[in-house]
Amino acid sequence: MSGILISESQDHALLAYVIKCAREAIERKNARPLGRTAMQKIPYFLQVLGVPMKYRFEIYTYGPFCSEILRDIEWLEADGVITDSSVEKEKRSDYRPGEALDELLAMHRAFIDNYKDVIENVASGLAVVEPNQLELLATLVYLYRWFEATDEAAPFRSSVVARLGEIKPDKFTQANVDHAYDWLKTVGLVGE
């Protein structure tokens, strides 16, 4: 069966475009497949950057999560907007554009065009990042927002990094943390 029957919304189109951009980046860099972890973190960061969406993320120790995204991805797959090419679907996913992807994007062209740059930037940047590094990125953003809300004056970088070491000791190397923080700065998710 083909044709879009159930995944018609703007949020479906957003997820589809994320998958399109992420997959292109993965192919350019020959990176690991696009899985469920990345498809939680990329929309979360897009929401922090102001892209409107219906999803409400819960923040837990392994980072932001929204179960509605899983359902919407399932619907996209059923409509042929995307595919999951994984041979072990129970364990991991490998999302790729499907034959109906362009049809769905065309239905929401104005919305996608409005946020095209930020979606492309974040999706292509994060798609090639390892899942544990995505957890690091999410935690850094969480801690930055925590310190930013206090009476302390910027810069917050050293406070954020020190707190990270307390709550997730020995989990990330200093080089990892520095690299991650610098990338978050370039996309505007944290300041110095």
């Binding site: 999803y55 999560f65 399932e74 899942p131 969480y142 925590w146 707190r163």
Partner: protein, 476 residues
């Protein structure tokens, strides 16, 4: 239930909090906090109003100014469940009463948490800019305001007509606009509570959420076991005359606790709260199936959608136009329009005015698989092509029952979780502990097909039989 706020001192640097059991009146917890309990005398809850669900709901002089503001008073003219009264005649209650109820439940939840973890919360909130010295009082106040105003952006027929009327600005975005705009409620909030408060209140109801320190407050208003859900399940049950939505919410509130894991502070449940949490989820499931997604309610939602989309003057665009819409005015307009067949919106107005609706000719199960949803949509197209003289449409209804992910899903991207605190402080997932929740569907989703036929007609029976044949042919 936790302490009655009016029993607390409004000032003092070493306030003693007494938390009383709702049922026994016994004092069950004592704690000491540094800051005041209320921000000022005008924030002490000295006024009260009767509520059929919660008894008395108390509010302050400052809160009374918000409640009496025309933007909030308009919620008296917006029914909680739109045209559900066409199915359950008692369901005529309003967003106004629900909003007061959410404020009350949120306050009880906050007081339950501060009774157990007040020192910790005072320390966390007190580090936020603008909260030093007034941490709990100010946090409690912004929580009450967010709860009171969480639905202030609803317009005529609440969710029913949202798809049509809220194009470009959903009710949550409109609520945020009303709360922060100085010309709407933002000015009043700033005058009474300070210039940082409107944005803080708005952040508690926004999708993107507040600063991390206040995520707990957001979860009280709209989380996995929140004040909004608690009040609407109880209230809607009461007014619909059904019992599906009732659960022992006082026990739930009493079981609330906090947990901090790897720097993330979350609301958790004490071990003894698991059974009432299960009851909450079951209540949500039953109310979704029996009330919120009742087939006839969904038919009338469609009529409202089509009515608004066919209005000759188009849909309202400005904020002023949107908040000017209420059920009372629109009901009047619908009745007027139902008498003029020349109008493009006539056929939908006439159906609503005369309660003359399409009949169900097919439905998938309540937890249909995705493939079945698609097949049902194909089935609709097939019926339309075969019965060209009959108006046929379908409705895809979907709702989240709970968001708890099974434990073994965590490897790939984590999962939504409610932590259960066992004795001696060990925390586990609620889903790990509850066989019932593991077995309960996470989503309610179905497709129903409706046709413009008489209830007991041969034509209806013929279409129903034909739908079953098509369903099987398509592999449903």
């Amino acid at each position: 239930m936790s302490s009655d706020p009016s029993e607390r001192p409004s000032d003092g640097t070493s306030a003693k909090i007494e938390s009383r059991s709702h049922e026994t009146g016994a004092i069950h917890h004592l704690s000491r906090f540094r800051g005041p309990i209320f921000l000022s005398e005008r924030d002490e809850p000295n006024d009260r109003v009767r509520c059929p669900i919660h008894g008395f709901i108390k509010y302050s002089a400052n809160e009374r100014r918000i409640i009496n503001h025309p933007i909030f008073q308009r919620l008296r003219m917006i029914r909680q469940l739109a045209l559900t009264e066409f199915v359950y005649p008692g369901a005529t209650h309003t967003r106004f009463a629900h909003s007061l109820g959410v404020m009350e439940v949120a306050s009880q939840a906050f007081d339950s948490l501060t009774a157990k973890q007040g020192d910790r919360l005072e320390s966390i909130f007190g580090a936020v800019a603008g909260f030093e010295g007034v941490a709990l009082a100010k946090a409690r106040q912004i929580l009450r305001l967010a709860a009171l105003l969480h639905d202030v952006g609803h317009i005529a027929f609440s969710h029913a007509a949202e798809h049509s009327l809220h194009k470009g600005m959903g009710h949550e975005a409109l609520s945020e606009k009303i709360i922060t705009d100085g010309e709407l409620l933002g000015g009043l909030l700033t005058e009474m509570y300070g210039e940082d408060v409107p944005s803080l209140v708005a952040s508690l109801i926004s999708k993107s959420g507040p600063v991390p320190q206040f995520k707990v407050l957001q979860d009280i208003v709209s989380g996995q076991m929140d004040a909004d859900r608690t009040d609407y399940l109880l209230r809607d049950s009461h007014y619909c005359g059904v019992d599906y939505g009732r659960f022992d919410y006082r026990r739930l509130i009493d079981s609330l606790d906090l947990i901090e894991e790897e720097g993330v502070l979350s609301i958790a449940l004490k071990r003894e709260g698991i059974h009432v949490f299960e009851a909450l989820i079951l209540a949500r499931y039953q109310m979704s199936v029996q009330v919120y997604y009742h087939r006839l309610r969904r038919v009338y939602d469609k009529y409202l959608e089509w009515y608004f989309e066919n209005l000759p003057e188009g849909l309202p665009q400005s904020v002023d136009d949107l908040i000017g819409l209420n059920d009372f005015d629109m009901f009047g307009r619908i009745h007027v329009d139902s008498a003029d067949p020349a109008l493009p919106q006539y056929q939908w107005a006439e159906r609503i005015a005369n309660r003359r609706h399409h009949r169900e000719v097919f439905a998938t199960g309540m937890d249909a698989r995705v493939k079945q949803l698609r097949i049902a949509r194909k089935l609709t197209d097939q019926l339309k092509s075969e019965y060209t003289d009959v108006h046929i449409f379908d409705d895809l209804a979907k709702a989240s029952i709970h968001k708890l992910v099974q434990p073994d899903d965590r490897d790939e991207g984590g999962g939504v979780d409610v932590r259960l605190i066992r004795p001696y402080g060990l925390a586990v997932s609620v889903a790990e502990e509850s066989q019932l929740l593991r077995d309960l569907t996470t989503e309610f989703q179905c497709v129903r097909v409706f046709a413009d036929v008489e209830p007991e007609s041969d034509l209806r029976n013929e279409i129903k039989a034909r739908a079953q044949v098509i369903w099987r042919e398509l592999g449903g």
